[in-house]
Amino acid sequence: MPRMILACTVNDEPVEALIQPYQTLLDVLRDTIGLTGTKEGCGTGDCGACTVHLDGQPVCSCLVLAMQARGRAVRTIEGLAEGDALHPLQDAFVRFGAAQCGFCIPGVLMSAAALLAENPSPTEEEIRYGIAGNLCRCTGYTKMVDAISEVAGAAGGKA
């Protein structure tokens, strides 16, 4: 198959990549661009480990063809922090000990960041549903929910 040129931004940087039209955004991010923070947990959109933002919306990058990102803005876990300043969710995840094996964490953080961008003061139930597309096998979700709640509370206080 003739290869195609993908031009988009990834974490605010312009990217041009020569790719196969059948490649998923996940594969291109990991294998072509070299951003391996985004994980493949199932390849079928069931686990959320590959969650990235496409124009600010959370998507399972294993279900998005890379060419669908043409001309659009992709944000991955590598672009969640602003420079050396961790995103408040990242900071809270460390303080609460929300991660264990860490494999699901990039996806959970991207889902949670998208949730808070849309709804800065979610209830506990809204948080639980907000990350319900992300499977974690280690933590029972408790500390994640605590950490997201705290960040949401702080954001709510500022608003």
């Binding site: 923070g37 947990g41 069931d46 094996c101 597309g133 096998r137 029972g140």
Partner: protein, 782 residues
């Protein structure tokens, strides 16, 4: 020597692993790239039971980019013997000798059984080619799926040469169970099914294998990065299996995305990947797909228990008879045979049962092999016992908490030998029970339940007690090395994959040396750097690995004190640690830092009798295992119209001895509880009667999501142990072992007003709804 710095042990120190995990900058196996990396894809059986009459690889070999297609025939001479499996520790009988290679030969015995391997330049090419490998299968009728049916005369045989599907047996007796049953005032019987479950680590299995060919007279070198819990064991077994000298084999467990026992394995896939790299002299990557993971990664549990108990009129158990039927799957795979053995070893659980008869039948079935899964045999023992305690309560009309109370081993009987090889260290079971009742508000819950029941509501209160054996040896190693500049490098032979062991080990070292935790780096999982180890499984890291760490760091500290005394011209007994220095007691200003001590140590400026350098490697061999225990309580509400079970509250009182880091501890408990709850409520591996895997995707297998779980209420009692230097017992599996029977107990308690006393997991809506309909005399049709 006095300790003047604040203690790190017991503090909720933030996880030192997290910075790399929350930024996506860590390296898991699939993140690795090597020059010339080739990709490996397996061709797996779509049949549960079939003869393989031939394999045609021509079309696959024609796919551009394909480097090799391997079948069992091509592997002759590649290994020195069959894949390893363990029949250790306890007497087994009738054991069948199994000669399994990395790829199936004449027969496939489960859906997912690997029959061929394709190696290509890209994953895409390998996958395309794998689809073109033509395997001539002759499906065999009536696959053995139900282990009990597999034992029936005339059942199809997985191995004709054995003449039976019975793989192995055990028959163990304590006391005089026959006499106890003959004299029993009452006998209670039940049959419980501990269904198979998937481990579902979020990172599937996988490995990258690199082979550097040797020169004539010198072996090549094999390096494998594997998502494993046992890098050292894997190194030794691979070396033997592949005929490569062990000093030319290096195994690295990089960041590992969850294990749960599932990665305690020397798998056909890892073996084949090594062979492929050696054949091609190229690095080879195998990344398991989720679908493969469901089909071919070892599964957990899979036990049917037929239970009889002799009891007194007030509910005291005088004897127990258990026939455990263990569903092994199509092959023995590494630790498969040991799961049921552990069930037998913990047969009386926390109860003082003097007479025991335990039999075990390991049955070969047309399913994926079983292996360790969080708890591994001990959840099965706890589950059957707790179902029994509930049943006794129901039959005698007594509160389940009181039935357990009168059967507990009393504190004065410890150490308690249960007659089956387990020698319990310490236990205060009544204390844990009372605390659980208090924290849960048990009495008020029962009052609330009475009101709810009067209104026709199905509210259930579940309760379960457990004791587990963990902290398995035989040993663990640790190395503590103070670098010449005073920074501390630590190696642990454990191989963590989410437990936070880099943090807990650093806490141990910080306390002993009096250095800041940021000056310590903890390494693990690379057999070239950490030269000895057993790994991480069976809740052993703190109890055994921590013990080794204490021994190593204390030896380094003692040497540092001697060097400090030498530098300060004082007696070692007069040197104390103070504010990060080693100082002479009562002599203001006479102090040296650890960095100055290290500089002296590596400069050879050491006291007579000491060697230069400042490091220690120690092995800790515990005299015996440790026995954490606890009592869990759950409250559920069941919708009588839909059968939907809602978990309203979960209260866990665990006693794991001393605690190194409560932040890590609670994380282990949360995760463990959810895995145990999931088995009770929603998870079940399903095969149809032809051996086809029905629950083979995350869409068909219900791993709990965030919105299904409540916040957990955690409390503890503390009963220490003298079996390791830290007095710790281990927490990795406690939550899972206790929570499954607790949830089952709650569901049955909710259904009791309908006359339902027996219910097999999982309590999915449809199963509960059917039970309700059956109990109310309906045929179960809407």
């Amino acid at each position: 020597m006095t300790v003047a710095t604040p203690k790190m042990l017991g503090q909720p120190i933030k996880r030192r692993e997290d910075p790399r995990l929350i930024t996506g900058s860590s390296t898991y196996v699939d993140d690795l790239q090597l020059p010339g990396l080739a990709h490996l894809i397996f061709v797996r059986s779509p049949h549960g039971h079939a003869r393989v009459n031939g394999i045609d690889t021509a079309a696959a070999l024609g796919v551009p980019g394909v480097l090799a297609v391997l079948t069992a025939k091509d592997l002759e001479g590649s290994t020195t013997g069959p894949l390893p499996y363990e029949f250790a520790f306890d007497p087994f009988s009738d054991v069948k000798n199994m000669e399994r290679g990395p790829l199936a030969t004449d027969k496939v015995r489960y859906v997912g059984d690997p029959v061929a391997a394709v190696i290509a330049e890209t994953r895409y090419a390998a996958r395309d080619a794998a689809a073109l490998v033509e395997v001539d299968y002759e499906p065999l009728p009536a696959a053995v799926v139900d282990p009990e049916a597999g034992l029936a005369p005339g059942a199809p045989l997985l191995y004709e040469e054995f003449g039976t599907n019975l793989g192995h047996t055990q028959d163990r007796k304590v006391g005089d169970p026959d006499a106890a049953f003959a004299n029993a005032e009452r006998v209670v019987k039940l049959r419980v099914v501990n269904q198979r479950v998937f481990a579902v680590a979020m990172e599937t299995r996988g490995c990258v294998t690199d082979w550097r060919p040797g020169r004539p007279g010198d072996s090549g070198e094999l390096t494998m990065w594997s998502s494993t819990q046992i890098p050292h064991g894997l190194k030794t077994k691979l070396a033997v299996l592949l005929g490569v000298p062990e000093n030319k084999v290096r195994v690295i467990a990089p960041e590992v995305g969850g294990g749960f026992g599932n990665k305690v394995d020397v798998s056909p896939e890892e073996t084949l990947a090594a062979i492929a790299a050696m054949r091609l002299s190229r690095p080879v990557k195998w990344s398991e797909t989720r679908s493969e993971n469901f089909q071919a990664a070892m599964q957990g549990r899979g036990q049917v228990d037929i239970v009889e108990a002799a009891i007194t009129g007030d509910g005291r158990v005088t004897a127990i008879h258990v026939d455990a039927i263990c569903d092994i799957g199509g092959y023995y795979q590494y630790l498969s045979p040991l799961m049921g053995m552990l069930t037998g070893m913990m047969m009386p659980g926390p109860y003082d049962i003097p007479n025991i008869h335990f039999t075990l039948k390991g049955v070969l079935t047309n399913k994926t092999p079983v292996g360790a899964y969080r708890g591994a045999g001990r959840p099965e023992a706890t589950y059957l016992l707790e179902c029994l305690m509930d049943k006794i309560g129901h039959e005698l009309g007594k509160d389940p908490a009181e039935i357990r109370r009168i059967n507990f081993i009393p504190p004065e009987k410890f150490p308690y030998s249960n007659g089956l090889g387990a020698n319990y260290d310490t236990g205060e079971y009544v204390k844990a029970l009372d605390k659980a009742l208090e924290v849960s508000g048990y009495r008020q819950l029962r009052e609330e339940q009475q009101t709810a029941r009067a209104q026709g509501k199905l509210m259930g209160i579940g309760l379960a007690a457990y004791v587990e054996i963990c902290g398995f040896g035989p040993w663990e190693s640790a190395t503590v090395r103070v670098e010449p500049s005073g920074k501390v490098m630590v190696h642990t032979g454990t191989s963590p994959h989410g437990q936070g062991t880099e943090t807990s080990m650093a806490q141990i070292v910080a306390d002993s040396l009096g250095v800041g935790i940021d000056d310590i780096v903890v390494l693990h999982g690379d057999t070239a750097m950490t030269q000895s180890g057993i790994g991480t499984f069976g809740s052993r890291s703190a109890a055994v690995g921590g013990g080794a760490m204490v021994m190593a760091v204390d030896q380094v500290r003692d040497k540092a004190v001697r060097i400090a005394a030498h530098l300060l011209e004082a007696a070692p007994d007069d040197v104390e640690r103070s504010n990060g220095t080693f100082a002479v007691r009562g002599a203001a200003g006479k102090a040296v830092t650890l960095g100055e001590i290290a500089a002296a140590a590596y400069g050879g400026n050491v006291p007579t009798g000491d060697e230069p350098g400042l490091e220690s490697t120690r092995f800790f061999k515990p005299d015996d295992s440790v026995f954490p225990f606890g009592v869990h309580v759950a409250v559920v509400d069941i919708d009588p119209d839909t059968g939907r079970v809602t978990l309203r509250r979960f209260i866990a009182v665990d006693d794991v001895g001393n605690v190194i880091n409560p932040l890590l501890l609670d994380g282990q408990r949360h995760g463990g509880i959810v895995q145990g709850v999931a088995q009770a409520l929603c998870e079940e591996v399903v095969y149809d009667e032809s051996g086809q895997l029905v629950s083979g995707t995350l869409n068909d297998y219900s791993v709990p999501t965030a919105h299904m779980m409540p916040m957990f209420e955690l409390d503890r009692t503390v009963t220490t142990t003298d079996r390791n230097p830290l007095g710790v017992k281990g927490v990795g599996e406690a939550g899972t072992i206790g929570s499954t029977p607790t949830l089952r107990s709650a569901v049955v308690d909710a259904l009791l007003p309908l006359g339902i006393q027996d219910f097999d997991m999982p309590a999915t809506s449809v199963r509960v709804w059917k039970a309700i309909r059956a109990a109310s005399g309906s045929n179960g049709q809407a």
